[in-house]
Amino acid sequence: MAEKFEPRIVAFLCKWCSSAGSDLAGVSRMQYPPNVIPITVMCSGSVSPLYIFDAFNKGADGVLVSGCHPGDCHYIKGNYYARRRIALVKELLEFIGLEQKRFRMSWVSAAEGTKYTQIISDFVEDLKPLGPQTKLRRKI
């Protein structure tokens, strides 16, 4: 019997807010789908478009970039740069025909454990009907 498809999400979480938020969800024993591969980065502004393309190239079904709310960045301005850069990445990925639902960005603070679980649950639900990501996946 074929296994049901479980999407794999690569999430770039900023250390000071989003990653802490995901820790809060864990410590509070909140239940949420285990499909995430979290990668802690120092700041959402340090997420290079290369990381995102590479995640899709290695077979990620979905990619999330998450950082501090505007005004709360530990490095003051990092998330503002991220906001611009990720907007451009999103437009480019859509332009070449990648499914729009596969890439998203969020603001999750260190206190928003619940929000984090909601974002991941929504993401997994949206990805399940799309099936595995084959478009940008490395095929050599």
């Binding site: 478009p49 290369l50 393309f53 590479d54 190239n57 505007p70 301005k77 503002y80 740069y81 906001r83 611009r84 850069r85 907007a87 451009l88 990445v89 999103k90 437009e91 480019l92 990925l93 859509e94 332009f95 070449i96 025909g97 990648l98 499914e99 729009q100 998203r104 960005m105 969020s106 603001w107 974002i119 929504d122 478009k135 940008l136 996946r137 490395r138 095929k139 050599i140």
Partner: protein
Amino acid sequence: MVNVEDLRKEAQRILREGKVKYVIGYEKDQNGLLPKPAFIEEPEDVARLIWNPTCVHNLTKFLVDEKKRKALEKKPDNRPVGIVVKGCDSRAIVVLLQEKYIEREDVHILGMSCERNGVIDEKKLAKKLKGQNAENVEIDEDGNFVVTSANKTIKFQAEELLAERCLECPANYPVIYDLLLGEKAKKKAAEPFKSLGKMESLSEEERWAFWTEQLSKCIRCYACRSACPMCYCDECVVDTINFAVTADTTASEKAGKIKWVEKSPVPSENFVYHMVRAMHLAGRCIDCGECERVCPLDIPLRFLNKKLEKEAKELFGYDAGFDPNKPSLVSSFKDEDPEDFIR
């Protein structure tokens, strides 16, 4: 009308006065329609300089070459270099100045206005001439293109032969110059980004099919990267050369070496290369069209860069290459930057 004699006079003057090391311009190629880049060192040689709608190249790339060459010399000649630029080319210089890659004193800019016109698209001309070769193209006083082919002259409306990018050009006159020839006449641009409209109206699957077909052709010759003046990185992300392999390098070290893109020219890797290049050019590409012109397999690369140019304008109100004092697109932000896509 731009008179090429004025250009030659000015070039001669700055060479004679020792103000510049050499002047980069266009000269006639005896064996083809498009001109060759010319490097004029002697004042007597300025007669070689030409100016007409075949001058499609972006000569700004040679300013990047000049900088790299000076870096290798023990006692470089630090005088500026003279350069003939069109509107688009001048904006490339502005981007290099913005990024402090070159200084304003390094370059003496001889600006040529396209005066409501632009340059030809060789492929469009070849189609019109049905396989006959053309020897020259000039503009007449009414702004039409006069093509010389097999000893006959044929007149065309400019729009029939203009390069696509010229039809969407935001400012076909130099925005920075030491000398300006021709009027700063803003032609009524067709809707900017019109060429993108068709692509954007396609469905997601149609767009995917289009790009897969196009990027499967790519043989990763990197001519697009070599022709682009903004691609000046000493080590490009696709060429990880700073990894020394010795007899002691273990298998896991070699396996762990960060290689963002594999060398294989397969579609998945080609996508990463082209998308990364488009992102690196966001807010920097001024649509000189060289990448598409040089591609030996006719891949429509301008679309990728044009899309990001459009988003830079519409989302962030950013125009590339107009103000050398403005910070670059991705190293600046506004409080009002859109965030409706962020959950």
